[in-house]
Symmetry: C2
Subunit: 358 residues, 2 copies
């Protein structure tokens, strides 16, 4: 019997509710396939600030490091919005990324036929959309030095951040992207702003260099402004997208919203070795926290991504993904994806339906 | 009789064709309202590279400086894509912006009822959308120092750009934005990434400070990733958006594409004093250049913006905008906005229809 150590980071807002559903699902699949999971729960984000004064206590990072994979729910909320920035919940997330060396963030944006009407885009434009955004996650302007707010000679303040990438940083995310494209549709679009930014010129040069090792992959390049436009104009043209930390933040959210159902989208953050972090794309939704209204599916699909990418159990991942489709086919919908003629359920009831389908 | 000096920069690709139409329209309106225009044509972009080796010859900048307003068509094309970056057509555009101190870029994205079906978004989502993006244009990561590709200690290359804003840079674009919102729907949304970037924290602090002088304006803040998402999810929530150079580049293009008819959208770039530059949002479209297929309307509406913002002739601007609506009502369409039952026309014929409508 295979045994896996999983760290659970329920975090804030709807986090604990959706995490509970995801854990139930994981346990059941484990029973079915004879996989054993040992769970450790740790504090992060606002919950950690309340308990310890810090968004990412050292103990949490240590627990994560000693596990095979980390399941994160959601971080942040109004309650902590007025804290100084280095003490805010988001810092916990950034600390986790750099602390675990999670340089590759995979964010799928896939339209499910059952939910196509949830999109604000016309059916014919989004039907069949299946995009994977590969976002660099530990470099670029999120971490570049110098940064800060400095006094200028004239006495006024100047805010500064640095967008920087080294060749090796570009290469390692580039490789993940080419490999990802290879497992998907064989097309990779690299997004940069090479007509203005030197850091993007280096990015583009390296990606072109790498391409010689991946001759089976069709590589294209877009400027980030054009990419944002093309996502709205004709999203089906994309298969895999690779880009830096900031552009990836923006474009993966835009791509996610094309589906109209961000409560359905999981993500994976992976490092060179050590555990990956698996979490929904959506946030902590403090407005509906504790009301049993949250959609747990993105969290459940994050479990599937964890099984596929971290634990190498694709058969378990498939099982969960099939159960999600089954539940949707049966007409169950949480409020965020509700439509005419469907059955409105809460977070727990959606969880029960998923267990049933499994 | 009022006399205005206008510099024309037809640039590359479809630039000369659409500029010819715009100039005809301007002349006719001038005759009708007794305004006299003196035109100077100058070189910029690829056309300037071919003639002089430089994307922005000093003579061009000088001519612009001595005029009341600059009308620019489009810059760039495949032909110059392999030149080293400091010699590329885009540098002409960046040089014009910094050379003329054009710190405020106004980019409207308005859905015209006649063209609503051109949008990839559902009718009910985009009906009535009328957004003005106020983008900072001479600061931020486009111009911040240090920038370049440097060798690191280990011998590998590192690409670097700097995103920086001083308080006074934020204040002056902030004021333009508040004033713009005041003339529009009274709502301003400031977009930043203050949860991660120090430069954005300063941005947000200053915008909040400024708000005390504009108490009639309803101010909100969004992170740039969320803003990209909200533009797709519910674009009608926006009235005026203010943001930095890079975020404005991305969001204004996304907003433009919501309309589905980027060939219709003008823009204005304004400085503290001296002439502004008025130009279409779309590019030089080298694939259809010289074929009489281009849509001249964005260029013609740029003339209207010039009359409104630079020359303070709103009655002339109104006249042109009415003529555009008239021509659309009459069913004339260029290829990019063609739909069933309409009359397909080329660039010149669209120009004739506009003159007719005037
Ligand atoms: C919360 C924030 C720091 C984070 C980011 O910008 O990376 C979020 O937007 C995301 O995309 O995961
Ligand atoms: C051509 C390029 C330098 C320019 C920019 O990035 O500003 C363009 O995308 C724009 O938005 O006007």
């Amino acid at each position: 019997q295979q045994q896996y150590r999983i760290t659970l980071l329920p975090g804030d807002g709807i986090g604990p509710e959706i995490m509970a559903v995801a854990v139930d699902v994981l346990k059941l699949v484990g029973q079915q396939l004879n996989l054993h999971f040992e769970f450790q729960t740790a504090l992060v984000g606002g919950a950690a600030i309340d308990a310890t004064g810090e968004p990412l206590p050292a103990a949490t990072l240590e627990t994560c490091r000693q596990s095979d994979a980390v399941l994160l729910a959601a971080i942040g909320g109004w309650k902590w919005d007025s804290l100084p920035s280095h003490q805010r919940p988001e810092r916990g997330l950034l600390g986790l990324r750099s602390g675990l060396g999670l340089f590759a963030n995979l964010r799928p944006a896939k339209i499910l036929p059952q939910l196509i009407d949830a999109s604000t885009l016309k059916r014919e434009v989004v039907e069949g959309v299946d995009i994977m955004v590969v976002r660099e996650l530990t470099g670029g302007i999120y971490f570049g030095q110098p940064k800060g707010i400095f006094a200028t000679e004239t006495g006024e303040k100047r805010g500064v951040n640095t967008m920087a990438y080294t060749e090796s940083e570009i290469d390692r995310i580039g490789r993940v992207a080419f490999e990802t494209a290879r497992k998907r549709g064989g097309k990779l679009c690299s997004v940069d702003k090479a007509n203005v930014l030197e850091v993007s010129q280096l990015w583009r040069d390296r990606i072109i260099q790498l391409a010689s090792e991946y001759q089976d992959i069709e590589l294209t390049h877009l400027y980030v402004d054009n990419a944002a436009m093309q996502l709205v104009r004709a999203p089906k043209q994309f298969d895999t997208i690779v880009t830096g930390n900031l552009f990836g933040d923006i474009l993966s959210d835009a791509a996610a919203m094309l589906t109209g159902s961000i409560g359905m989208l999981p993500s994976a953050s992976l490092g060179a070795n050590g555990p990956g972090v698996f979490e929904p794309v959506h946030g902590s939704a403090p407005d509906i926290a504790g009301q049993d209204k949250a959609n747990p599916i993105a969290q459940v699909l994050s479990v599937a991504m964890m099984l596929r990418y971290a634990l190498d159990r694709p058969e378990a991942a498939d099982r969960i993904e099939r159960a999600v489709l089954q539940v949707l086919d049966n007409g169950y919908r949480t409020g965020d994806i509700m439509s005419n003629g469907m059955t409105l359920v809460g977070c727990r009831a959606m969880g029960d339906a998923l267990l049933q389908a499994l």
